[in-house]
């Protein structure tokens, strides 16, 4: 439907165009004929004058003469007749009025000529000639005014010139009719000629319009073609015409291409082929199609399929090329990508083959039935069978009979899980020897194949067995060592207890000065030996992983104060200044075991005091070293340590050559400090300058204060952070921060009386004296271990029934189980959850009170 409408539209359009062309042609004929008559008029005017001058130049009066009136008539009347239509052809060329005026003027010119020639019959041919020339307009209507003028002229002559052959009173009346008949006869043929000319013009216009439409369609096809098209001249090889698509493809404007040849934009590597093809086409090849590269204006390469054919003129002579170019750059890229992929695949296959060929491991595929499908050459090395011997054979036949059940089980598992790793079984080689193989395999459900890699682990298995034996031996030795240390500790402490005990008794019996000095030597040697034993045992525990730590938020200032309090008398004895950083924040906390931290600080401070000359200075400062670390630095003004000796500083029993200095020491202190710091996720280090002093530092993770866990703006209302029970609670805890926390938590509970003890022994005493309703017990206390305090509470009749809630950061399941078995009611871990804390207190005290009420009742 749409196509028909389009055709109808095209037909109407062609008809309109034909009419337009026809009218253009008519206008052109009118103008051209106007110009013809303009020239003819001027010529006729001149001719009139010449004729007048020749025929009747002068008129005579006897012997005298004057210019004949015909001459003046030729000049004046002839001029009047000619010039006006000439002027009109200039002013209104092609106009109807111009044609009609010309027709009238031409016939008047005939009349004038007839008059000037004295009515010569030959001159009358000018009338017929004029009618013929007027028919050049191909407008029959022009003949009408011309004929009218002829008729009027002859009529008037007939009226005024009786006996004239042209008048009504001519010698023969039929002659005028005959005369008029000839004019009509000519007019009839001229009118027929005009109509025929019009028909021919319309025919030409229709054909021209049709040709134009066809040309327009061809042009439109050329311009709008989705492929690049160009016409190239055969003679100079230059572009004559290109469409927009071609210009877009090569990146040049159409004007730029007009000054170029296709070879100018051909890739240099394709030039030779292109030139050869051009020669072939010049030699008679009608059509050729190639893939070639063009160079875009930007320098990029355009891959294209170029089809060329010869365009011939109407005589069949080759004039131009028509080239059609299709952009196949993307296709070429895709092909290149495929080729690259194939290259990579081949390379990968080659690599895989190399791996397969050179691998010491067996790489194989096994089908569903357990038969080898592919296998590499390593099979010969591993099992003594070549790949050809194994392909198609069941692998299970090679498995050691003792390992077949496990292998079958593993094979079943891999079908379910899809993967198998670190499976070891044994195979019987061709020569009968046994080889252990470690398997890694994966199952492809789609390909129904196992992809396997087998590694010979015979040697490794032997080594592992040897290692296992060695470890068992080492464990036994370690156990023996622990046993030895334990025994040694007991065996050494027992006599030391007697030595130190009796030494103290001797000091109390007022000995003489000499005796006192001797006792002092005994006590000093004994204490030294005791410290040595303790440190050896500590190091031994740490290395054995038996050291128990209670890592929790510890207030740095508090621990430092305690350590410094202990050190001040010793420093004062040596006239030393012991200063602390004034900026030290009381609320600064670190994660550490409080007792072990204090032990490390005391050790470092003791060293500073011992190895600094009398009157020296010792400073303590605390720094933030990074966003999550806190560093405590102890500086002294001692002799300093040479840099080459620093590496030996933390080696046990290495005193860096100060054994002879008289300063007592075991050589284990710094080694123990380093191990303790590592056990608490901390670090220890030193910087020292010989002659100026040293700076020892420890670094531990920073922590928030436990008090931050307290809810703000607490009220006395009943909620999960309060208790309604009435009673007395004893809290045994050496960490002041934790004590403060619990104090503040219970400060708003008027029904609860809180007693605190920072040592285990003191806690036991308070328990016996005040018989609290609940005891909160920390496990790490400076004098007694927490489980020892628990055991003593349970042994004492007075305190046996008091519920004990253990609070500790060291909350392993094994330890909780052990404590519960030892009599603890329950266990709370640090940091404390306040809601859980009050719930446990409330519940425990309620049960205690009920129990007491029941006992009273």
């Amino acid at each position: 439907m749409f196509e028909i409408a389009s055709l109808v539209g095209a037909s109407e359009s062609t008809g309109d165009r034909a009419e337009e062309l026809f009218q253009q042609h008519r206008r052109q004929i009118f103008r051209q004929t106007d110009q013809l008559f303009a020239r003819l008029m001027l010529f006729q005017w001149v001719a009139c004058i010449v004729i007048a001058l020749v025929v009747s130049p002068r008129t005579w009066d006897g012997a005298s003469s004057q210019v004949h009136i015909h001459v003046w008539s030729a000049i004046l009347i002839g001029g009047a007749i000619s010039l006006f239509p000439v002027w009109m052809t200039r002013v209104w060329p092609g106009a109807v009025a111009t044609r009609y005026v010309i027709a009238v003027a031409q016939m008047l010119m005939s009349a004038l000529l007839i008059a000037l020639t004295g009515g010569r019959i030959e001159t009358h041919f000018h009338v017929f000639g004029s009618l013929v020339v007027l028919s050049f307009y191909r407008d029959w209507r022009v003949l009408v005014p011309a004929t009218v003028v002829v008729a009027l002229d002859h009529f008037l002559r007939g009226v005024y010139l009786p006996y004239s052959v042209y008048g009504v009173l001519s010698a023969s009346p039929w002659r005028s009719i005959e005369h008029a008949g000839w004019v009509i006869f000519e007019n009839v043929f001229l009118v027929i000629s005009c109509f025929r000319s019009i028909r021919e013009m319309r025919f030409i216009a229709n054909r021209t319009a049709a040709l134009e439409a066809s040309d327009q369609r061809s042009r439109q096809l050329f311009d709008d073609a989705p492929i690049g098209m160009a016409v190239v001249a055969l003679d100079n090889q230059q572009f004559k015409q290109v469409n927009a698509r071609f210009a877009e493809m090569v990146g040049y404007s159409e004007q730029e291409l007009m000054t170029r040849t296709p070879l100018d934009i051909t890739h240099p590597e394709d030039l030779a082929d292109s030139q050869r093809l051009v020669k072939e086409m010049l030699g008679g090849t009608e059509r050729c199609c190639v893939e070639k590269r063009y160079l875009r204006k930007s320098g990029d390469i355009l891959w294209a399929t170029r089809t060329a054919c010869i365009i011939r003129d109407k005589d069949g002579k080759a004039r131009d090329f028509l080239i059609m170019v299709e952009d196949i750059t993307e296709r070429k890229r895709a092909e290149e990508a495929v080729r690259e992929g194939q290259r990579k695949l081949e390379a990968a296959l080659e690599t895989n083959q190399l791996i397969m060929d050179n691998s010491q491991d067996v790489i194989c595929t096994i089908d569903e039935s357990g038969r080898f499908v592919t296998i590499n050459e390593a099979s010969e090395t591993m099992w003594g069978f070549s790949p050809n011997e194994l392909i198609g054979r069941r692998y299970m036949e090679l498995v050691h009979p003792d390992d077949r059940p496990a292998t079958e089980k593993a094979a079943a598992e891999i079908l379910e899980s899809g993967k198998l790793a670190d499976f070891v079984n044994r195979y019987v080689r061709k020569d009968g020897s046994v080889v252990s193989v470690l398997w890694s395999a994966s199952w492809s459900a789609t390909k129904k194949k196992l992809f396997c890699v087998a590694h010979d682990v015979t040697q490794r298995t032997r080594i592992e067995a040897a290692l296992r034996d060695a470890k068992e031996e080492a464990d036994r030795a370690n156990h023996a060592k622990s046993e030895f240390l334990s025994r040694m500790s007991h065996e050494l402490r027992t006599p030391l207890n007697a030595i130190l005990g009796f030494g103290q008794l001797l000091e109390r019996q007022n000995p003489t000065a000499q005796q006192r000095a001797r006792v002092a030597h005994i006590m000093s040697a004994g204490r030294h030996l005791l410290n040595l034993i303790n440190e050896v045992l500590d190091i031994s525990r740490i290395e054995a992983g038996h050291l128990q730590l209670s890592v929790e938020p510890v207030a740095v200032a508090e621990v430092l104060d305690e350590a410094l309090d202990l050190m001040r008398p010793l420093a004062a004895d040596r006239s030393m200044q012991l200063s602390v950083d004034a900026q030290l924040e009381k609320d600064l906390h670190i994660l550490a075991d409080r007792q072990r931290l204090k032990q490390v600080l005391l050790n470092l401070l003791t060293n500073a005091v011992k190895y600094t000359a009398i009157g020296g200075r010792i400073g303590v400062s605390v720094q933030q070293s990074g966003p999550t670390r806190t560093r405590v630095v102890i500086t002294d003004t001692g002799a300093g340590i040479a840099s080459e000796m620093l590496a030996r500083l933390f080696t046990p029993f290495d005193r860096l050559g100060v054994e002879q200095s008289g300063v007592e020491g075991t050589g284990l202190g710094l080694a123990l400090c380093q191990r303790l710091m590592q056990a608490m996720a901390g670090d220890i280090g030193v910087t020292s300058t010989v002659g100026k002093g040293s700076a020892f530092w420890i670094e531990l993770p920073a922590a928030d204060s436990p008090l931050k866990a307290l809810p703000r703006n607490r009220t006395a209302t009943m909620d999960d952070t309060s208790t309604t029970e009435v009673g007395r609670i004893l809290y045994i805890e050496d960490n002041l921060s934790n004590l403060t926390l619990v104090e503040q938590m219970l400060a708003e509970q008027p029904n609860i009386e809180l007693l605190t003890a920072m040592q285990g022994g003191l806690g036991l005493d308070l328990a016996r004296q005040h018989l609290p309703d609940l005891i909160l017990l920390d496990l790490h206390l400076p004098d007694l271990p927490g489980h020892e305090v628990l055991a003593r509470l349970r042994q004492d009749k007075l305190t046996r029934d008091i519920p004990v809630v253990v609070i500790s950061a060291d909350a392993t399941a094994r330890q909780i189980k052990r404590l519960m078995a030892a009599g603890a009611r329950t266990y709370l871990t640090k940091p404390l959850d306040i809601g859980e804390f009050f719930r446990v207190i409330d519940e425990t005290m309620r049960n205690r009170n009920r129990h007491l009420e029941a006992a009273v009742a």
């Binding site: 025929v55 009747s56 130049p57 002068r58 008129t59 005579w60 009066d61 006897g62 012997a63 005298s64 003469s65 004057q66 004949h68 009136i69 015909h70 008539s73 004046l76 009347i77 009047a80 007749i81 006006f84 009109m88 209104w92 106009a95 009025a97 005026v101 008047l108 009349a111 008059a115 004295g118 009515g119 010569r120 019959i121 005024y160 010139l161 009786p162 006996y163 004239s164 052959v165 042209y166 001519s170 010698a171």
Partner: protein, 209 residues
Amino acid sequence: MTSSRNNILITVLFCATWVAALGFGARTLFKYETTPGTVGLVSSNWPAGSVVPRQTDKPTLLMLAHPHCPCTRASIGELAQVMAHAVGKVNAFVLFVRPPGAGADWDDSDLRRSAAAIPGVTVLTDDGGTEGAKFGAETSGHTLVFDREGTLVFSGGITASRGHAGDNAGESAVLAALRGETMAQSRTPVFGCLLQKRNSVTEPVLCLK
């Protein structure tokens, strides 16, 4: 629209002016061509003392002509037509007037040669115009026909207008006279130049008497 109307108006105006100018010119020319020349006192018989040799066996035709008058070319042409029909039946003479003072070669003109070439026509020269005056002819082309007895049977021009060839009443009358037929008219106007300059010319037309 207004411009197109103005163009039409201008065209019509120009055309009207043109037609009017041409009409005036044509009228002037037409008036000149159709205004006859003067005719003198024509004797009804052959004048006595005429040197023209009249013969009594045939009628005599006499035309007086100016040897240079272009209008007379038509009269000579009509005379040739007449002679074609009446050769051997008439004695025909063409007298080319030579005005007083004119040169010897005055009448050596194409008209004289044309007239001389007409079979049966005798060309004579009328020195001083005396013969013309005897016949009362004043305008070139004036034709006279006398019968055998010397009686005037026709007097006038044998062209329809000045210098205009073609059939005309004068020619028809001459042919009728020569054939002995009844003439429609025996007098016709003469169109041509004056044979001799008049001393008193009162009319603007050159050939008028």
